[in-house]
Amino acid sequence: MAPILDIKNLYKSYGATEILKDINVAIEPGDFLVLVGPSGCGKSTLLNCIAGLEPITGGAVHINGKNMTDVSPKDRDIAMVFQSYALYPTMSVAKNITFGMKVRGVDAATQAAKLAEVAAQLQIEPLLNRRPGQLSGGQRQRVAMGRALVRDPALFLFDEPLSNLDAKLRVEMRTEIKKLHHNLGASMVYVTHDQIEAMTLATKIVVMKGGVIQQIGTPAEIYNTPANLFVADFMGSPAMNLIPASVRRDGAFHRIEIQRDSAEPLVLADQRPLNLPDNVIMGLRPEDIAEAGFRAGAEVQEANCLIDMVEPAGADTYVVSQLGGKQVTARLHAETSARAGQAMNLAFDLAKVSYFAPETGERLN
């Protein structure tokens, strides 16, 4: 099957500043592609280029097998939902949703039918006569979605559609989008800088930084085997612990030595067949450091660490310890007995460790 969206060697500059550099991405029908990256990295710009809202400087955009590089937005067979929702403030919800059809000259009966269908799907029937100003954030979000849905497009584009909602609503709407994707089987490109959103929604994630793609992969790939330090640090919350360590080869395995202020260095042994340089950055996620006894596995090693701080967070408790000059966070059970200022045994799951070169930041294993 031809890719539904195929971006080839796309470049984009504003005047002299290059915003996007050699972007190559393709997605299959039904894919849910999430673009993540820090603020200003060019996510919105890329989305606008796909939509045809910004002319591109080089490369090509194919949608549904057709070269759309020079086609105007309305003919690209796309729909887009914006961060601010961009609802037409003076029109009622119903008119907001049907405006596009009206412009395209769809007859009134079809408009009404489509409107009814979408309104039912999104459960916004009671709101149809209100103005956007009279809606709550979540309701606005749904209306914006409705405006996209009535188009039946080949491709949906979302630019941070949830970032204006509060945490609670965000979680709810996330679930709804997921369901929608599931039900429609539509293809979507979705921008966010919230990595939880990225992880839960995506079938494919693109991590960007400064207009350059850092890694493309499934959520699990991105999460478990980040391609470089930037991706490792960026994805996951709390962030992956990135601990400077020195390596000593010891026969078949590596001894990983981590300096500590107060006590002798922490030494862990990695028995996987690797080839590491003398200095590495060791990456280990909080959930891979557990309370001793609560994690089992061939590669789990325990060590006694001084706990600096305890942060209960309802479902879990996070504890922080100073290792290799960094604050290392571990995720423990909510009922843990950890106390700030006391030492305790932590279990490190070395099977999950990522290693990075300190100079280039590239992944080593």
């Binding site: 809202l53 796309i78 887009m80 914006f82 961009a86 003076t90 405006f99 596009g100 412009v103 405006r147």
Partner: protein, 301 residues
């Protein structure tokens, strides 16, 4: 015990700060009212004068309160005062002014809105330069343009006509109206245009269906500004009109400014207030939205 001492220690300070606040508040009101009186003073003089008889004005102090109130002057100003050989008061000229001001305001507002829309949301290369050229145009002294404009109006066959006056006012109002609308529209997120583009709407459709309905506050500001400018204009009115198309300011001037005739100050003043009524009305009715409209964006750079 401690509680009590704290209470007594605190209470005098409390009351002193409270009386202090009352004194301050009173001073504030006194100041505001004093200035209100300052602003009202000329209007007061005009009103009292308009209610006096001419005899009283000749013999009494110009600024004193009227001894006998008479509305004769108002009647004369409305329908009897002479401006040339027609002694029909201001009435017919008010109509001229309305016929100039209403389309003039409407056109310059519409063009200003369109221009502002382009400058704010459809930037292209050189738009900034164009905008500054336009802004600079606000500052050209009108005396300068009088003669060449007369020539142009002659060529366009609009000399002495109301359309000609509308045209002139529209042209020289464009600078400010564009400025107002542009500064307002830049505060509207770009995404609105983008959403509409994806919906398939074009330039005019977006303007008409989305931006125009949003523009009420700034339309109020622009209308107030332009209406005041056009209504009170004398120079263009006198230069580009002919018999039958003269606006009210010219009539007012004719009533007030005769060189060698007898001066009827009471009629002058009544006429002046009558001539200003439409603008005053606009201010009173729309004044509230004026501040709101300004707050909504037109004053922010």
């Amino acid at each position: 015990m401690t509680d009590a001492t704290i209470q007594t220690a605190r209470s005098p300070r409390k009351t002193s700060s409270r009386t202090g606040r009352i004194v301050l508040r009173t001073l504030l009101y006194v100041f505001l009212i004093a200035f209100a009186l300052f602003y009202l003073m000329p209007l007061f003089v005009m009103l009292t004068t308009s209610l006096k008889s001419l005899d009283e004005i000749r013999t009494g102090s110009l600024i004193a309160l009227p001894r006998d109130i008479t509305f004769e002057a108002w009647k004369t100003a409305w329908s009897g005062a002479c401006s040339g050989i027609r002694c029909e008061g201001l009435r017919p000229y008010l109509l001229n002014s309305l016929m100039i001001a209403i389309p003039g305001v409407a056109l310059s507002t519409l063009f200003g809105a369109m221009n502002g829309y382009v400058f704010a949301q459809w930037k292209f290369r050189g738009a900034n330069l164009l905008f500054s050229l336009l802004l600079f145009g606000c500052f050209i002294p009108f005396q300068v343009v009088l003669l060449p404009m007369a020539r142009v109006l002659g060529i366009l066959n609009m000399a002495g006509t109301i359309p000609g006056l509308i045209f002139v006012h529209t042209v020289y109002g464009l600078g400010f109206t564009t400025l107002f609308f542009r500064n307002y529209y830049v505060t509207i997120p770009m995404e609105l245009v983008r959403a509409a583009k994806i919906d398939g709407a074009g330039f005019f459709r977006i303007f008409w269906s989305i931006f125009l309905p949003l523009s009420l506050p700034i339309i109020v500001v622009t209308v107030i500004w332009q209406f005041t400018q056009i209504w009170n204009d004398f120079l263009f009115g006198v230069s580009f009109s002919q018999a039958g198309t003269q606006p009210v300011t010219v009539a007012l001037n004719n009533i007030v400014n005769s060189t060698t005739g007898v001066k009827e100050y009471n009629v002058d003043m009544a006429a002046a207030i009558l001539a200003a009524l439409p603008t005053l009305l606009v201010y009173v009715v729309a004044g509230k939205y004026f501040i709101r409209g300004l707050t909504a964006g037109s004053v922010k750079g």
